[in-house]
Amino acid sequence: MTLTEKLWQMSWSLVFWLCAIATIGFFMLYSAANASLDPWTTRQAMRFGLGLVMLLTIAMIDIRLVMRYAYPLYAIVLVLLVFVEVRGVVGGGAQRWIDLGVINLQPSELMKVALVLALARYFHSLSLEDTGRPTFLIVPLLMVFVPVVLILRQPDLGTSLMVVMGAGVLFFMAGVRLWKFITLIVATLAAIPIAWPRLAEYQQNRILTFINPERDPLGAGYHILQSKIALGSGGLFGKGFLQGTQSHLNFLPEQQTDFIFTMLAEEMGLVGGVTLIGLYVIVLIYGFAIALRCRHQFGRLVAIGVTTTFFLYVFINVAMVMGLIPVVGVPLPLISYGGTALLTIMLCMGLLMSVYVHRDVQIGVRGGYDDG
């Protein structure tokens, strides 16, 4: 395919929906800064523009090339993770990012994408029968296990869980038997008493506070309580754009990042919140449709993997601000202010688009261009 054909093949309607979501985000950032483009809206818009260019560029990259470099990419990100870990130990603090000047790169974010690619490649090459054999699951399990341990050590419970869940979905979609999942879940539950004392105190507190928010109304529970007050007081139609009292009077923590959905729901009400969720659902439907239409297993798995990652971002963030799950630092895709998450999302969407553009290419077992 020529580049022009590829551009023609792209799902511009998906790009439109992404832009629609991002635009809502700009308005919310404008409101979060008390009706000012500074300091967030302008920068976020520029980043989104760059992200869009990146999305389109990635979409052009031949999916087979992506598949060929899936393992090396995974290896590089793993090295970066180790690097952060080592420097964290040396520096004596929990530092999760690498300063690249223009952007603070969080290897754990990149790992979400890299792992999807690596697992997709692995399962692409595996027949359904082999997938059913436990021995063939050792390698992919290690591929998940190693980065998760590294991320847990940072310590970043939220991202670890997201990585695990994303990987779990890939295992499931690749055809791993259900009873194996059940075994694993039971084993995990059994491990909780062992893992609990190893969690950092703030993580224990978050979980305990989630179970009983009244436990600490001025500490960890305060944010969730204030978030629920903001949401609830928004009502059906909200208090109006720029009129959110909870967010503008700083009762809401981090209203430009993790709690931006709360602000939207406070100012735009249930109608606004459901509309945004609806837009996300549209993007998810595109993801599923692309996965289902793809003619190769790698593309299917990549599409479903990145769509799941996208879903997890949305679900975890929204469920968190509404007090359904503990407070974990997961941003709202395309809305929350922040470079790394945006980069990850645009990477995901770029890959999804690439799968769509290259949905009909033939890929061999080893990732060749032509062997059938």
């Binding site: 359904l128 903001a230 609830g232 007081s233 059906l236 297993q297 799941t308 679900f315």
Partner: protein, 629 residues
Amino acid sequence: MIINRDNDRIRLFNRRAIVLGGGQSLLVSALVGRMYYLQVIEADRYRMLAEENRINLRLLPPPRGRVLDRFGEPLAVNRQNFRVLIVSEQTRDLAATLDALASVIDLSEYDRDRVQKEVRRRRSFVPITVRENLDWEEMARIQVNAPDLPGVIVDEGLTRHYPQTQTAAHVLGYVSSVDEDDLTGDPLLQLPGFRIGKAGMEQKFDLALRGAGGTSQVEVNAVGRVIRELERKEGEAGTDLMLTLDERLQRYTAERLGAESAASVVMDIHTGEVLVMASTPSYDPNAFNRGLTQREWNALVGDPRAPMTNKAISGQYSPGSTFKMIVALAALEQGAITPEQTVACKGYTDLGNRRVHCWEERGHGAMDMVQAIAQSCDVYFYEVARRVGVDRIAEMASRLGLGAATGVGLAGERAGLLPTEAWKRATIGETWQKGDTFNVGIGQGYVLTTPLQLAVMAARLSTGLAVEPVLTRQVMIEDTVVQRPPQAFAALNVDPTHIAVARQGMFEVLNGPRGTARASKLRLKDMQMSGKTGTTQVKRITMAEREAGLPDNDEIPWNERTHALFVAYAPEDNPRYALSVIVEHGGGGAAVAAPIARDIMTEVLKLDPSRKPRVNDDQVAGTQPGSPV
């Protein structure tokens, strides 16, 4: 083969995609359901919580009611108080700004330390008071230097001010900061810097003077910073309180008493209104509002002349010879003596094997009642008292207003003491002796009175009515202040002819050829004053001292000198004013107290405050405080 295998994978993938999609739909539905629960079902509750979050109710202190004299002259007012505050977040460098401020206005090391400490404790946007009570010049200097003083604000509030400073301090009392014990649940009391009445009328009428607080609803952010005012309800200013005092006479009296430890009360005998209640030395009530330093407090409390005590109501003194009219009235009523019957005074009388002396050691000769009062013959009253007995004297004294608190409405008023035979048995456990009666006959011994009671006694003698003193033109009924209804005094139930005799004696004291205070008669045309001197020992004179010759007052230590007393009313032909004067350790009543009484009464008669029409409030506002008359 490959195709088949792939077809299986596709079918499995599609099946599981439906499962996954279904799962994700369920989770999204859960989110929407949760939103519906929070934003529709629980919306009202959270809306209320959000309002509670953002809206703060602030109290606005009401202006305190003024205290005025009988003509509306302000005695306690609210003055604009300029404060300089500092907001640490607006200063680039707190220490540097304080340095700059110190170069503009006086700033003590103590204030600087306090500010630095408070800055660390409070949030950075909370203004902290650096200094209060700035004058205009300091204000102006701060304004001019404003560019060099980032974060420095000048703020204006109201603070209590007593323009007459010491003059009526004991009646007015003072306001001071609220203590833990003062908290009654009135939220105003919790306001920082709020002042309540702690003494005198400020205390008694505190609730009326205080007014009702207003409220201001402000929107605050999460850290409590005020964003804007949403609603404001002004409070109700406190009620003005009008006293019966005449500020000019009060000031004149205080100045006339001067540095002495003394007290004086002047009353309008027809209304019972107290025109003057002076007690010296006094204190500056403004200092209590400002806050006393430990040293200032110690100086006030440690002063032997007791500046904190209102001697007019809390000082208890033997009335001395001013008591003799009561003994005379008791005797006349009982028929123990007639006005014309005489008693011979040899300068002493014998009581068993003891000899008691008259103040006139050479003796007065034959004394009738009028002369005995005029010349204050002790021997006459020893004899009369012996005939009457102490219980009847006490009964007469109590009819004339002694021995019980007058209820004038000031805290700390004492009752004085009228001894009786039963009283001595009950409290001291001894039987009443003849010598005790002798002592009571000349107003000494156990008898105790307050200067206010003595003024009331003079008023009752001059009217024959049970005059009761009042200090305010308003009264509090529950929590509201209303005009005092005019009062009619009951009759004394003393034979007017008897009173006439006592009054004749009092007239002679000043106007008779041998009166003890004839040097202090009024120097006014057509007006005479009647009165009675009193000189009371504070230390028993021993026989040895008497034989050695009594020393002059200025040769003995101040606190062993005699008290000087005088009671009077005027004008004699148509009485209107009564007064009492007591000078602690001042010497003789005739020599010290009578001239003071004459001067005060002269001033009273000149100003004649009872006749002067009351000025209305408009004129009051224009009156200069302390304007000369």
